[in-house]
Structures are given as C-alpha cells and as structure tokens.
C-alpha cells in the first residue's frame, strides 16, 4: 500500500489525537526502537515498559497509551513499508510538538 504525503500526515494526526498523556521524549525513544526492530517488537517493548518499576509514572503512562493506540492501528500500519512507517511515526512526533504550544 502506497500512501501520499497528505494521507500519511492525515493518518499521523488521527493517531496523535488519540494519545493520552504522551511525552515527546518517550515517543521519540519508542519510534527509534520501532525504526530498528519493527512495529511488532516495538509494541512488545511498550508492553514491558508500561509496567516497568524503573520508570517514572509519567513515562509508564506514555507507554500505556502507545501500546493501546498503536495496537488499534496495527493492522493499517503493518501494510506500510518500513520507510513509510518511519515517516508516519515522525509526523506523529511533529503533531505532539504542535500540541505543546501554550494557548
């Protein structure tokens, strides 16, 4: 499946809008992991970290929300190439930054 840039940005926005209590730093760490090991292992990684006693409560919340939301879009994301997936995860990060503007 090939998506246009607009479609990728659209999908990224749709996913980002569902993320509750997400921090940019945890998102960036997670997306770097996915770029190397793929989505399936990325979700397993999030599953471990969401309950990890070595993480702060806010970090655990980030992984909880990543796991829940990304699982919902897993089928859709699995159809993408590695490059397209990386691009969409990058756009999600940009949308998270956009949310941080204090208004």
């Amino acid at each position: 499946m090939r998506l246009s840039t607009d479609e990728k940005i659209e999908l990224a926005k749709k996913i980002e809008g569902k993320l509750v209590g997400i921090t940019l730093s945890e998102w960036n760490k997670w997306q770097s992991y996915v770029k190397v090991y793929g989505l399936k292992r990325g979700l397993e990684f999030a599953k471990v970290l969401k309950d990890s006693p070595s993480l702060r409560p806010g970090q655990k919340q980030s992984y909880r929300t990543i796991l829940e939301v990304m699982r919902r879009y897993q089928k859709e994301l699995n159809q993408l190439s590695k490059e397209e997936l990386a691009e969409i995860l990058g756009y999600i990060g940009r949308w998270i930054v956009a949310r941080r503007v204090r208004l």
Binding site: K13, K18, E26, I96
Partner: protein, 155 residues
C-alpha cells in the same frame, strides 16, 4: 479518601504532553489521590484546544475522546458540573471579594476570575483541595485549601 480539584492550567500541561505535569499527575494518582475537574476547567480548555493545528471539529473531538479516556482510566476521577449550590456559592465568593478588593476590570479577564470563583465554589462545596498555579485568585478565601503543584515546566 484524598480528593483534589485540578485547575485548567494543569489539565492543559497534561494534555499538551508536558512530562513534568504528566509525572506529577500520575505520581499523585499512584499515591492514592483522586484528581477531579470542574466542568469550567474543561470549558476553559476548549478555547485553547481549537488553536491546535488540524481541522477544528476533529481537534475538538480528539480532545473530548482523550478526556473520556482519562475518565475511563480514572486519570480524571470525576468531572463536577455547576449546580445551583455552586453557582450561589460562587456568587457569594465574588461578592466577598468585591467587598474587600477591586476586581479585575473587563479588559483584565473578569471572566477568568468568575470562572475561578466557580472552581473555588466547587472545591468548597465538596471539601476538595484545589491545585492551581494561579494562587492569587484563591488565597484570600479562608475556607478553601489551595495548593500549588510541585512541578514546573522546564522550557
């Protein structure tokens, strides 16, 4: 049961993905606190959310979905509506304030001050601790327990 009312600035920091606020909120929750909101804080937040990039209706629906999710996960324990008692209490608070001080003029957010009185009245009515950074709007109220959350936004 330890219950507190959180004001709109803290909700904004949480929803904007500020890690200090998210850490604070979940640490409080892990320590047994039940953090609540007034519907007024949600109303105040709507104004900020429409400034997010993206289609307005989708942005608003996403925000409301996130709030619903926070309710389901008990990140937000309860959202208090404005009842008749709360509106009377807020009126009395504003009256008391006007007896003692000069209220902010129209140009300097009297509307925001009225919202804060509704939030203060909710905290008083349900005997909740109020967490806010805007301490000067509340610290003159004798029967209100106000606290500043112990986090600050770094950048």
């Amino acid at each position: 049961m330890m219950m507190a009312l959180v004001d709109s600035m803290i909700l904004m920091d949480y929803d904007n993905g500020r890690k200090e606020a998210i850490d604070w909120w979940h640490e409080m929750k892990d320590n047994g606190w039940k953090l609540c909101l007034s519907i007024v804080s949600l109303m105040e937040r709507l104004k900020g959310v429409v400034g997010f990039p993206g289609r307005r209706l989708e942005v608003l629906n996403d925000f409301l979905d996130r709030i619903s999710k926070m309710r389901r996960d008990r990140i937000i324990w309860k959202i208090y509506p404005i009842t008749r008692e709360i509106s009377y209490e807020a009126y009395e608070l504003l009256k008391r304030y006007c007896e003692r001080y000069t209220p902010p003029s129209k140009g300097r957010s009297i509307e925001g001050f009225i919202c804060d009185m509704l939030i203060a009245a909710t905290a008083i009515r349900y005997k909740l601790i109020l967490y806010t950074f805007n301490i000067k709007h509340f610290d003159w109220i004798d029967n209100l327990n106000v606290k500043i959350p112990d986090y600050s936004i770094g950048d």
